[in-house]
Assembly symmetry: C2
Homo-oligomer: 108 residues x 2
């Protein structure tokens, strides 16, 4: 047997979770919303929509985008976006460790 | 903002979680699968099916049922069922405390 879980942040509605974390990590890695969306098998529209909603709900900009140029534009994390990613990543590791410890204590 | 989560136990498939915990707690409280199902707005068939599946996957009996009699039969937790409920309840409280502490540490 093993423990499984999902964890996310809400403010009335879903604000931030593993899906958005992965999307932003891919955007950071690939420098483009379009390429990140492709790599995660979602549409550009869907990826962009999720980022925009999160930005609205968090009240911060997560991405800076450039349009045009040789590579057809690109996107990168803002300072606030990167800070959120780092915080969320640490939070997730702690949560994972804590839940597994609870599981071990009672069912291990 | 607040943290939200779901946690459950798996063995390849879902084995035990908050839904089953609530169902068994209602059965324990009301002494009947039928009354518990009603109180949780599910069908008898659904309630019974969930308990049976969990029993198979856990390899233990969770309920003892009586048929007939003045009250038309009833159900109660086995010793193993009660032990699982107690363990799961403590596990859930620890998980809740731990996740909220992680949230406070990073986003509080």
């Amino acid at each position: 047997m093993q423990v499984r879980y999902k964890v996310w942040l809400e403010e009335g509605e879903h604000v931030f979770g593993d899906g958005l974390f992965s999307l932003l990590r891919e955007i950071d890695r690939l420098g483009s919303i379009n390429r990140a969306a492709q790599s995660l098998h979602m549409s550009y529209r869907q990826a962009w929509g999720r980022v925009k909603k999160a930005e609205e709900r968090l009240g911060i900009d997560l991405l800076v985008t450039r349009t045009g140029g040789e590579d057809g534009g690109g996107a990168e994390l803002t300072k606030e976006g990167r800070e959120l990613m780092e915080k969320y990543n640490l939070f997730r590791r702690e949560v994972d460790k804590a839940i597994k410890a609870c599981y071990q204590a009672y069912f291990g």
